[in-house]
Amino acid sequence: MNLVHILFWFLSALTLFSALMVILSKNPVHSVLWLILVFFAISGHYVLLNAQFLAIVNLIVYAGAIMVLFLFVIMLLNLNKETEPKKNVWMKLAGTIAGGCFLISVTNVIYNAQTSSAELVNKTTLMGKGSIGLIENLGKTLFTDYVIPFEISSVLFLSAMVGAVIIGKKK
């Protein structure tokens, strides 16, 4: 077990634990903070996977921008208390079971994929090597092969912008 493995397991555990804490925390602010931790952990994974640029972007966009926005809204709406009333236990249980079912059924399929159909045998990720995660390569591809989606996503932003304005304005 080398460092990569140790880091992988550590980050995985951290991710899952933080994620669990996101949904278990009573206080929304805590949830946000736990979520930010998740993002950090995932960024760690990205670094392990040699996707450095994404790791940075993830931190900037998600942990930096998006989560701050969340925090901001929570503060704005004054929800930073443990105000959430008790949700029906049965609903919680049912929700957990449904999610669990999903997890089990899908992972079981994946498990099958590696055992009976041998689809995933010997498929490993390249750790810490390769250059596709570099900003240079990504940028080149983005502005050559992926220029169309890139341009088109501007429409998306436009509409989101318009929308946010329409919805967000007080009147």
Partner: protein, 637 residues
Amino acid sequence: MNNLIYLVPLLPLIGFLINGLGRKHLSKPLIATIGSGTILLSFIISIVLFFDIKATGGKVITAFTFINADAFKIDFSFQLDNLSSLFLLIITGIGFLIHLYSAAYMDEEKPDHYARYFAYLNLFVFSMLLLVMGANYVIMYIGWEGVALCSYLLIGFWFKNDNYNYAANKAFIMNRVGDLGFVLAIFWLLTKTGTVSFNELFTDATLAKLSTTDITAITLLLFIGGASKSAQIPLYTWLPDAMAGPTPISALIHAATMVTAGIYMIARSNILYSMSEVTQHIIAILGIATAFFSATIAIKQNDIKKVLAYSTVSQLGYMFLALGVGAYTGAVFHVMTHAFFKALLFLGAGSVIYALHHEQDIRNMGGLKKKMPITHLTFLLACLAIAGIPPFSGFFSKDEILAVAFAKNPIYWVLGVATSILTAFYMFRLYATTFLGKYRGTDEQAKHIHESPKTMTIPLIILAVFSVIAGFVGVPTVLGGSHQLHQYLSPVLSAEKVFHLEHSTEYMLMGITVALAVIAIFYAINKYSKKPELNEPSGLGKILANKWYVDELYDAIIVKPVLALGSFLKNIIEKSGIDALVNNVGTFVQYAARQLRLVQTGQVAGYIMMMVLAIVVFVLLWFYDASILKLIGKLFY
């Protein structure tokens, strides 16, 4: 000559149309003239045709193709031969007399009803002529139903009275039972032989296509038709009820002509019937049973027309007995003589009823002998004729039947004689109660009693003459005659069975019959002329007076169950069954709609959970239940 044949049925039809359409505009005398005149013309033509046929033999003429559909080729054609021309004479002759009689009898009716009456009557004659002139079973069937219709219309002529309407319905419905048999027989014949025309059917080649079973079935089915029309057990109950119609109708339709249609039909099919022993036995047994059974009922009836009605049923039973034992000529002979004397009886009764202002209960009559001499005399002659007293016509025809019955099976004869005795008894009971003794009505009523007008009495006289002499066309060899009728009909009734009885036996049989009848007559006159039976009968008498409760029995075993079934189907099966099933589908959909609506809880978490679960189900279906899917798939592939 051929065109004359068309005229025979056509004239009554024209009369029907004129009277029917012009009923608002024609005067009564004109109506009567048209009504009777057309029949008279038909009668005259019938006479001409009769002699023509006698000279040249039978013929078939085709008016047009009635139905020509694949294997069904049915011509609208008439067959005029010895048998049918004889019937033509009876129908138009007696028909004319009854028209004449009706002119006076129905005088009280308003002109439009008067016209309606004559129109119906003409239509009846037309139908009856179709029936006997038809050259195939289908045309016969047309007439067959036509007479049933006219019978229905005329029984219910006074439609304000609901009982009459019931009787009319009953007559039609019971006739329909027979019609079903008839029509099935037609199909059977058509299916097996491809023809229903008499000439083609009654050839050896065609008959060879029929197996014994076929013949038995066909003859039995036809017999059902005959039995319903001619009021045989078990389909006779309509006839007594049919007396609801005006009395001339009873005379014409329910005594002289229509009810003999069954006999005519079987006589016409004699070749078929002779080929089936089974059917013949059944006919004979049912015939004699009817004869005896209805005679017993007649004993205790108090309605003058009811007595005659049961008497008619009884006499028809005789005729069927004759048919059953193969004495077709005898049957036709009796039809003929019966037509005269029974028409006479009814008309006489009508005369009485007319005189007594629609009083029909003999218990309220009596002593009419002096007030209505012509009616009385003619009625007496008719009674003697029906009782079988020589030399009146009834004697000859009845004797012939009894003789053949004896030859076939003495039991038939015994019952026949018993019936004959009963006949004599009840006829003279009727006679005595009506004409002899003292008048039992009020004096006021008595003053108004008078003999009927000429238009009524003349037919009575003519019929009386025929009742007396008609028998002489069939004087048997044993009495020195040559039985002209037999000779005349032999070309048509080729399947006639000839029995040879010892002359001594025949004499003996005649003697016994006549003697017993005479005793019965005297007993009856003696018993009833002085002290008529006015009280309600009891014991057996009550049962007889109530007609053995057959109507009640039918009501219980047929009418009520049918109605109950109808109600059951209507109220239970239709409403709570099929309709409810259909409606329940709707209700279920609505119920399901209300329940399914509740799934839409408005809770986002719930919705999402459903989505997640659906995905889980998809995944499971896909990956883990291939074998189950295979199974389901097999069902649809």
